[in-house]
Symmetry: C2
Subunit: 365 residues, 2 copies
């Protein structure tokens, strides 16, 4: 397999933009990514466009037409919340296979018609109820506290307050998280990600060609794992554990080596449970991990420096691609006030999706 | 790039089956493909599921859950009419990259709510009007006749009459094609493909592993080309010519070497124009080619031995995968009364899709 590196990335701010089309947001992200990588549109041999929403069917081709008719290969990819991550994986594999020398993953989704800034009591209530039950169980079984859960939201909003592409850019206090509108006990609205719109793009190329375009740091993709439908396990948590083991093995590394993990934190309890599933701590110790600051920007294993799904946002298609952008920029040291204190040499992007899918990529500087 | 071969394929008959779900049709095709390849479901490391319809969102995961929870990698792929072809390409590239040793492309789409056996005067009328205009232009410019156009439909229905998976399995005469209901002059309803439902699956693996599963013939994928948005050209015809040149170059072959081509013939005129774009004859000579029988089962360059889109059907997601099945079975000599007279050593699968995409795969026995 050819070594594949990330050359550049670009975003359109996540948020509620009902008047913007997928093409508007996608092309802005694409242009930013090209600038970041020192490339022109006609340097891109393939596009994989990840979209979760049905309103963005065919978005890859619409964006391609605006950017320029260069005869490149455009394919749309869907995998629920992990649509962008799956698109990124196909871009990586296509370069690894030698089918293309350069490829771009785009993630784009328009603001859903019923989008609210935070989940309301209107559908889809399914997920929040499931995760509220999971939170209660974790509290009963392991003594995880409401404060610990809320600390995830506080960290998330703090990090996002320094991220110009985040949907929510205001820090919140523990008290504000507790006092916010209750959605499904113990999860108040500040424990939940929004369902919004946005755009993201990330460019990969064969290692030997990177120098042609940029002198910036180009992290190598050292693991690419996508797994679905695991028997006898929880479709998100056990699937995460299963996928992470393979990803660590591919990279010859372990959780102790992670300098940054971008985790699928649609709800605060998810981040805590994934700490455990990814091996950052033992089962039941997730609450302690956030409380001790291990996953803060200045901790040993920072998680969601971008703000994650809860505060940066969760526009579905873009989310997984946006994680790659955050990892790239952290590795380059370009993240300003949310820059991680320690050097970021090894990082993970983790997404799960309804239907039962987990996608993990590991990057080495 | 690792050499990738086709191990087996399976279909669910194309047609109007409003009561069948994507899972019903998909799993039948998958089971048939596994049997054909001598494999079990847990031998499959990845699934790429191509669907064009929005009613089949997430179909890959639904099929995976019925087939068994093995922790394999499932990703959905969309590329308009070429969705199945694009899914097949990702399956091939993922094995070529070494990410998987085996992979399955599934194509599935349910019967559209407004499906008719043939295009009616109800929408979508856009495509048929475009191709009717293209037919008139070809007739005026090159002297192509109504008889020649109708001969494509006669050949298509004749071939499909021997294909148990075809939507239409009755031969028609030239007179019947002429006398059928006019949709858009000069195209009567028998010149047009139906919009139906169905399922298709094709399994690929690394060449060195094929012997583990089957002793049947396993054609090698010698070209895989997907191109979009070409400047200054027709999004279907010129894109086909552009893509074919690359595909021939990858295979070290030319049109004169083709023993079978499965062409995207949504309308009879398309088949004639693609004869020219693919280099089977000079520009303007397509009508002569069908009249001289060059593309018949016993001709030098048989086209659409399956019956093609016009008679086998065009369920969108499955169509491109079904082409691979036809090529595999023709190369093995398993096609009964529609078996091509000459040995089939080199064959092409060609699809185009709205939005501007062309996918070409070449296979060598």
């Amino acid at each position: 397999m050819r070594e594949v590196v990330v050359l550049g990335a670009g975003l359109h701010r996540y948020g509620v933009d009902p008047d913007k089309s997928a093409t508007d947001m996608g092309t802005e992200a694409v242009r930013n990514a090209l600038m970041d990588a020192g490339m022109r549109w006609d340097d891109i041999e393939a596009v994989y466009c990840g979209t979760g929403g049905q309103g963005t069917w065919g978005a890859g081709h619409l964006i391609g037409r605006v950017m320029g008719l260069t005869g490149l290969a455009i394919t749309n990819v869907e995998n629920a919340s992990a649509s962008g991550s799956a698109a990124f994986r196909e871009a990586v594999l296509s370069v690894a296979a030698g089918a293309h020398d350069t490829a771009m993953a785009i993630g784009v989704d328009t603001t859903p018609p019923k989008a609210v800034n935070r989940p309301s009591t209107s559908p889809p209530l399914g997920p929040v109820n499931i995760f509220a039950a999971m939170a209660k169980q974790h509290m009963e079984k392991y003594g995880t506290t409401r404060d610990q859960l809320a600390m995830v939201a506080v960290k998330s909003h703090y990090n996002a307050s320094f991220n110009p592409y985040a949907h929510f850019q205001e820090a919140v206090t523990l008290e504000e998280v507790h006092q916010a509108r209750m959605v499904a006990d113990p999860l108040t609205v500040l424990h939940c990600c929004p369902w919004d719109g946005g755009g993201a793009a990330a460019i990969v190329c064969a290692r030997e060609l990177a120098g042609k375009y940029t002198e910036k740091i180009c992290p190598t993709v050292v693991s690419s794992v996508l797994k679905s439908t695991l028997a006898g396990g929880d479709p998100m948590v056990d699937l995460t554990e299963f996928s992470a083991k393979i990803a660590y093995e591919q990279a010859g590394a372990g959780p102790e080596d992670m300098d940054l993990i971008e985790i699928h934190d649609a709800f605060t309890i998810e981040e805590i449970i994934y700490y455990e599933a990814l091996g950052l701590c033992e089962e039941g110790e997730g609450g302690r991990l956030i409380e001790e600051g291990v996953t803060a920007l200045d901790g040993k294993h920072p998680v969601n420096s971008s703000g994650g799904l809860i505060s940066m946002g969760h526009p579905i298609g873009p989310t997984g691609v946006g994680q790659v952008a955050e990892i790239l920029w952290q590795m380059r040291g370009e993240c300003g006030k949310r820059q991680i204190a320690r050097p970021v040499n090894l990082a993970m992007a983790h997404m799960v999706g309804a239907g039962g899918v987990c996608v993990i990529h590991l990057f080495r500087k």
